[in-house]
């Protein structure tokens, strides 16, 4: 059966899942190889010095972890990079974006209305129009109870009122009208 994205050939995968000390080391290998490459733009976790030493020491005596370290370092060196033109393209588009200079009064009023609406517990009307079932709900695995992702005005279950799309804010305000 291969209906679930993460669970096909689970048994085989279980065999591949490292155990014991190797498991702990392999969790850290991405950070270890990243530090070695000192690549620009790496804003990831830092590896603590004692962890770094622990990984180095383990690699001396574990051929399989050494092999994995070599492999993922190769992968990492060939990670996809955005086109060189992307930065200037984003910055230029940002300069031209109409919303950047707009008055903040109206958005603030809308926000206040939205906050009030949320506080009153009016929050379900935006589901009036049934959306087609999002495709990404069909391959769910165990996950946090709050189904927040995929709705970018919710982060970790907390509404970010400011992140509501404009049309949503409009609906919200209309909803508030008597």
């Amino acid at each position: 059966m291969r209906s679930e994205d993460d669970n096909d050939s689970v048994f085989e995968d279980r065999l591949r899942e490292p155990a014991g000390e190797c498991a702990r080391i392999r969790d850290l290998l991405p950070l270890y190889v990243a530090q070695g490459s000192a690549s620009p733009g790496f804003a990831g976790e830092e590896l603590a010095e004692e962890d770094r030493a622990g990984v180095a020491e383990h690699l001396v005596r574990c051929a399989d972890c050494r092999e994995e370290a070599r492999f993922i370092a190769e992968l990492r060196a060939r990670r996809p990079e955005p086109p060189a033109s992307l930065l200037s393209s984003i910055l230029e588009a940002a300069r031209k974006a109409p919303g950047r200079q707009k008055s903040t009064l109206l958005p603030r009023l809308l926000r206040a209305a939205a906050v009030a609406a949320l506080a009153l517990g009016i929050g379900t009307f935006w589901q009036r129009e049934p959306e087609p079932e999002p495709m990404w709900t069909v391959a769910l695995e165990a996950q946090p109870a709050v189904d927040w992702y995929g709705q970018d005005w919710l982060v970790a279950g907390e509404p970010i009122v400011e992140a509501l799309p404009d049309d949503m804010l409009r609906m919200l305000v209309e909803e508030m009208e008597p």
């Binding site: 291969r2 209906s3 679930e4 994205d5 993460d6 096909d8 995968d13 591949r16 899942e17 498991a23 392999r26 991405p30 733009g41 790496f42 804003a43 990831g44 976790e45 994995e68 492999f71 993922i72 190769e74 992968l75 060939r78 990670r79 996809p80 990079e81 955005p82 992307l86 930065l87 393209s89 984003i90 910055l91 588009a93 940002a94 974006a97 950047r100 903040t104 958005p107 926000r111 087609p132 079932e133 999002p134 495709m135 069909v138 391959a139 769910l140 695995e141 165990a142 996950q143 946090p144 992702y149 995929g150 709705q151 970018d152 982060v155 970790a156 907390e158 970010i160 400011e162 992140a163």
Partner: protein
């Protein structure tokens, strides 16, 4: 544990504040710092470089538009990636509708290893250069494995943050990462 994405100076939150006040250099720094992770993340959904670049740009524009509302309750990068995810999935949905394709009929778009009609990697592709080989292999992974490998290996996110942005628990993100690496080793070594 140090907060990822904030370990560098100046911190994201500081740059966001400056950018909101109209500091173009702060804005530029934010984009430089995060364009790579956003691009790789959406590439993991879209499997198309041009689309990934477009969606990365759209994501930043959307974020800039909402920057004032960012309150630092979550890490900036987590917030950014949540928006990126939404943009990517929105594009996939709208394209699916336009083409009247039902990619989600049976088992989601993970059902076949080569959804969107792509051929399995043949010998010709496998002889191509390493970058292309790796791209093909990554595209072949189930989505959550691909995203977990990308976020953890390419961008150094903690498993907790990986879980947050792919909608999994921390433990599941970790397992997905290891499964993904295991498969890639099998296919590429």
């Amino acid at each position: 544990m140090s907060d990822p994405g904030r370990s560098r100076d100046p911190a994201d939150a500081e740059l966001v504040e400056l950018a909101v006040q109209g500091d173009a250099r702060a804005l530029e720094q934010l984009v430089i710092r995060h364009q790579g992770v956003v691009y790789r993340f959406v590439l993991g959904f879209l499997k198309d470089e041009d689309l990934a670049a477009d969606v990365t740009q759209d994501t930043f524009l959307k974020v800039l538009d909402r920057l004032e509302g960012f309150r630092g309750e979550s890490a900036f990068r987590t917030w950014l990636l949540a928006i990126a995810r939404n943009e990517a999935l929105g594009l996939i949905r709208s394209r699916g509708r336009r083409r009247e394709e039902s990619i989600d009929e049976a088992g989601g778009f993970e059902d076949g290893p080569f959804e969107d009609g792509r051929e399995a990697p043949d010998a010709r592709v496998l002889e191509a250069d390493d970058v292309a080989r790796i791209r093909v292999a990554l595209d072949r992974l189930p989505e959550k494995q691909r995203l977990s490998v990308s976020l953890r290996l390419f961008d150094g996110l903690s498993f907790r943050e990986v879980g947050e942005v792919i909608g999994s628990l921390e433990g599941a993100a970790r397992v997905n990462y290891h499964y993904g690496i295991g498969r890639l080793r099998e296919w590429l070594q």
